[in-house]
Symmetry: C2
Subunit: 240 residues, 2 copies
């Protein structure tokens, strides 16, 4: 039914109002947490596997998942976890393809965590969003997979636009800067940020300004979607 | 001995004096050409597999290989090629792990093709560098793997420095520009290129100028290795 020795793990980051979280499943009987992962059907494109696995395991649908790295340490084996799980279910197997080593392909996405509903599957006792600064114990090398995805997300800010679907349709420069600062987990210089992001050409300044702000009411911006999509495709220089 | 359903393919680009080539093996008995590829040993890290495979199949050693993408079309099968090969060797097998579907992890590198010696292994009738604009017929989806690697190499020019180990220790601005133009396969504006590449801070201007040039003798540059390595690690904005 499934390909041997290869698996998929998904690192789903969630952003909303200056919080960066990650979606984890609690492994039934084990207590530890895990990235949503699974296997590739014999006749399935791996990109479809990633979407199917994410949906089956967490309920999340229509998420744009992107490959980011393959993890292949020779000691990557879920044998102990799977043996325990099977034992708890009343099965004691001598050998199984589940006890072999798996090379795992990491997929990642960034969503607004208030816009999706996460539900655990039957293999898991919970499905929850964790603050990136406050993670629980993870199985196997899942902490390494998660941190690699986070570094890749941070590095990506240098090359590709971000924020569409994460910010309201119109937003202020401080709101956009906060998104970057939350992902990078550090403060950025206000004037440099504004100068550099405007130079990329992905923003349109709107005529209206934010109401209910006493002094120096900030202007609203929206994304220039044509430029934004183009920059997603070809990359853009934006050194932070 | 090997993991099932997963393989590694290497796209080795070679540059020298304004030529961009790629290293291919001719499949024995088949006539078509292929990227150097192979399988992962049961207890081997995949990065080590890639280096071992490249060395065993082409003789190339000490090449820095980098994962770039995983190819997973459900119809990726080397069954026909492997059956034919085994038949020519006097083996007719009903089934074999070699006839199953393989998900393949692409690795890539860029070397100076005059600095390495390529030698075919016993599975291949030839090992040759082909001009990127003049490729032979390739097996399977190897043309897609190659073009994906080329796009990734071109995109990478926006984010990371290039040229160390491909250019002489000291080089002129036109020589560096030619390297970029050769990879991108298009002309770049001389003044824009110079302004942007100098702004990255990865170059040091030397005091001496190129001799034997009648008018406007060009200055020599070398890479500032500290800045260069830093930009490799953290990325740099350099929109071409």
């Amino acid at each position: 039914m499934y390909l041997r020795n290869i698996s998929v793990d998904c690192v789903i980051f969630g952003f909303h109002e200056n919080e960066l979280k990650v979606l984890l499943l609690q492994v039934k009987y084990a207590g530890k947490w895990a990235l949503p992962g699974g296997f590739i059907l014999k006749d399935e494109h791996m990109d479809d596997s990633a979407n199917r696995i994410l949906k089956d395991r967490t309920g999340l649908d229509n998420v744009y998942l992107r490959q980011f790295h393959v993890f292949s340490r020779p000691d990557r084996s879920t044998e102990a976890i799977n043996r325990q799980y099977l034992k708890n279910m009343g099965h004691e197997l001598k050998s199984s393809w589940l006890f072999e080593r798996f090379v795992s392909v990491g997929y990642t996405a960034l969503v607004d965590f208030t816009q999706v509903k996460a539900t655990p599957d039957t293999l898991s006792s919970a499905c929850e969003w964790f603050h990136i600064q406050n993670l629980p114990d993870l199985i196997l090398d899942h902490a390494e997979i998660l941190q690699t995805a986070l570094k890749e997300l941070q590095m990506n800010l240098n090359y590709h636009p971000i924020g569409y679907n994460l910010l309201p349709d119109k937003f202020t420069m401080p709101e956009l800067q906060k998104l970057y600062e939350t992902i990078l987990n550090r403060k950025l210089d206000r004037r440099n940020f504004q100068r550099k992001i405007l130079a990329t050409g992905i923003l349109k300044k709107l005529d209206d300004i934010k109401k209910g702000v006493a002094h120096k009411a900030p202007s609203y911006y929206k994304f220039d979607l044509k430029q934004y999509k183009n920059a997603l495709k070809t990359g853009m220089g934006f050194e932070l």
